[in-house]
Amino acid sequence: MSDLLGQFISESRDLLEKAAEGLLALEKAPDDGELVNTIFRSVHTLKGASGLFEIAPLTRLVHAGEDLLGAVRAGTLMLDPGTVDLLLDGLDQVGRWLDDLEAAGCLPDGADSLSDGMVARQRALLGAVTAADGVVTVAAGVAQTAAPWLADFSEAERLAAMERALDGARVWAVEYRPDSQCFFNGEDPVHLARQLPDLLALRIAPLMELPALADYDPFVCAVRFQLLTAAPGEAVRDLFRYVEEQVDIVGVEPRHFVLLDGDRIDGPLYEDFAENALGWLERGDAPRLRTAARTLLGLTGAATHQASGLRALLAALGADDCNRPLPGWLNALVEAIASGADPDWTAAPLSAGTAGAAEPAGTAVAIGLDEDSRTILRAQLRLLDSPCAAEVRLGHLEAAAAAVRNILRAGGHLDDTLEGTLAKAVGDNDPASLRAALVALLGVEPAAVPAVVPESASEPARGGGRPAERMLEEVRTETAAAQKVLKVDQGKVDSLMNLIGELVVAKNGLPYLSRRAEQIYASREMAREIKDQHAVIDRIAQELQEAIMAVRMLPVGQMFQRFPRLVRDLARRLDKRIELVVTGEETEADKTVIESLVDPLVHMIRNAIDHGIEPPEDRLAAGKPEAGTIRLSACQENDRVVIEVSDDGAGIDPAAIRRKAVQRGLLAAEAAEALSDADAVNLVFAPGFSTKEQVSDLSGRGVGMDVVRTAVEKAGGTVTLTSTLGGGTAVRLAVPLTMAVTRVMSVDVSGHAFGVPMDIIAETVRIPQARIHSIRGDEAFVLRDTVVPVVRLGRLLDLPETAERPEEEAVMVVRFGKERLGVVVDGFRESLEVIVKPMDGILAGMPGYSGTALLGDGRVLLVLDLKELV
């Protein structure tokens, strides 16, 4: 994937998010004009940027959405929930396509028809297809009307263009009205328009009377461009693709260039001429018609209607040696000359001259080369024309000949003559003959081949580079203006963090060095200096660590952004009325922590909507407001971030939970009865527990709250649930702010050191041997009136036990949820802040270890996952 595409994808996702968020807000406050503008801008920018890539279905879909939003902005379309649905669906589809683009680099099959369907639905809302997609219709070859401003061109210009059209070129009338503020975007419309190839005629005119110099603002663009070009339609649209909405591109029929002008004169002369002329036209006798028309023109005043008609006729007939077919509409022109009226084109039958005006005539049409092949052939022509050293020239020649041969063979156009020409050109090292063959194939004059824009002209203004670069620059400046944010690949931040971790470890080696300096080399002074240096490096390393943590910190609001949409969609589907109240979005936590919480939160919110909030009628019957409220809050408590989802719904019935638990075989009936209500509701976290009888569309697929608990615990967090029957339910997640640095306590077992994560250690105690009782082979002791089972870590790890047990055992009391367990070790050592690296390679699957950490003296500390061990 190219950098450009990657950047486009990541920026487009932001834009999509912004637009979706805006739409939801707009639904609540439909009169907020600023909001509409924001959404419109996001979609507009997205559309513009998408034009850089070959993803037309996506661009079309975004364009349709933009038009809808434009109508909303203009006040011609009311924004109802249905419209919002449609727009959101469109944005979702774009999002999915972005995923596809990221994965495969292209849109999936069927994107075209999918896009068409969605576009049609969006367009249907707009009523008739608006003028905004004029460009699209031109592409389909539908629009054939002439631009009214053709009359602004001189007759000579028009007739020259007509001749080009009659010679087989498709002539496009392009009107380009640059945005008045376009200079500020670094645009130079003149420069852009100058790149239009095969320009036949042009006008640059002010849009209105320009103000006097005293009031003149040099930075407001107020001109428009009217251009006639014989370049391929694709090339024209391509050139203006970033300013699509400022450009009208219309295909012009040859006859549309005929605009008769001047005084009308009557006379039998013209009627006689017309009578004869129609006969000649019928017989296709161009030479006689030409002679007669010339003679008559000599007798007619130049500024008359008739003269102008005769000039058009002569231009259509062409020079003496011209033998192109006579267009059928000449009949109408001749009649107009006779009557002095404007030609009635509707009466004119379509003829070969007009119908076949798709592509330049010549050999190319004769052998039917498609546009792609022509592009490649044109490129070969450019290659041959490019200046280069003599020894390279032969290489160019061979490459060009090979390309031409392949193109022709692929199209089935390669015959012996051509093959011979190609071989001879290479054999004789004669580029001129290959060039001539190419020109013949393309049916173009060499001059008509678009040349590369000279370097000097391509940098006339700031940001005036090639379109792709300029687009990117535009996007960049926009981003820079909005927020000074650097987008960095997460991998880079991670590797930076790893490096800092290693720095910390290396730094921790200094105290050992200082000790050695003192003990072995007996240099106290040296030792002290090393210590001083260590203090400095320590401070810097700590600040570095904090800084990199801050980089990884994200406000939880980023994760919360998706929930208004979720709540809205689900509530609509279930016919419930639900308000989502979000607080504490600014609370920050590590990116990985936040990401690990997304799925659990989605699940919890779905539960709240599906199981928690009652249908409106039930709520009214219970004396509650019709609309339910779901509160999503976040706050920081010490080194943990606490996220709570609460609803004011039906709450959980502890009796039902007990019943269900027994039914599912999770608990014995007596055990269930013995549970307190608060403990009973927490049974929903048990694996395979789901209370709702009916499996609904949203939740209750058997994967219940246990998934939430597993995910949260994986992130080192805890989850608790409180519920009042009839009053609502609250689920509280508490997770560490960051998973990067873990506090571990190192313990000694049989001469080995192990790390145990501090967050599961409740306390460390020394218990006299006598107080550890053996109950049916299992050991336990009583700690503050509670029986705590005891395990020996050495046994768990299968390490040889020390021969004699000490008087007092060192016991680490760890907590798993609500259970406590005493773990006997040989001794406690210091607590450390380490960066735990997961096991990889063949050790990756080893149970009982969460990873390794490097100590200051270079030793490796194995960090235990006690929960897995016991």
């Binding site: 130079d188 320009l199 002010p206 110099l213 001109v223």
Partner: protein
């Protein structure tokens, strides 16, 4: 400097960027019969060209570059080059 300002004549050379529009405007404001020499001009930013359309100075020399001359002429349909 792409624009050289003389007493009654501005000589525009090479590529005139958008930034030149302001100084050209200032110069034009102080002249009764300004003249411009575009002989060695290769490109005018739209802002500069538009300013010339508004100020209608006398063009003493049209661009030598034939392709570019078409564009400048297109902006001054009344004043064809000799």
């Amino acid at each position: 400097m792409p624009i050289r300002f003389e007493k009654t004549m501005a000589v525009l050379e090479g590529v005139c960027a958008v930034e030149e529009a302001e100084s050209l405007l200032d110069w034009l404001k102080g002249r009764k019969r300004p003249r411009v020499d575009l002989g060695r001009c290769e490109h005018l930013h739209t802002a500069v060209l538009q300013l010339l359309i508004a100020a209608k100075p006398a063009v003493v020399a049209w661009p030598e570059d034939a392709e570019w001359r078409r564009w400048v002429v297109a902006a001054f349909p009344a004043e064809m080059p000799s």
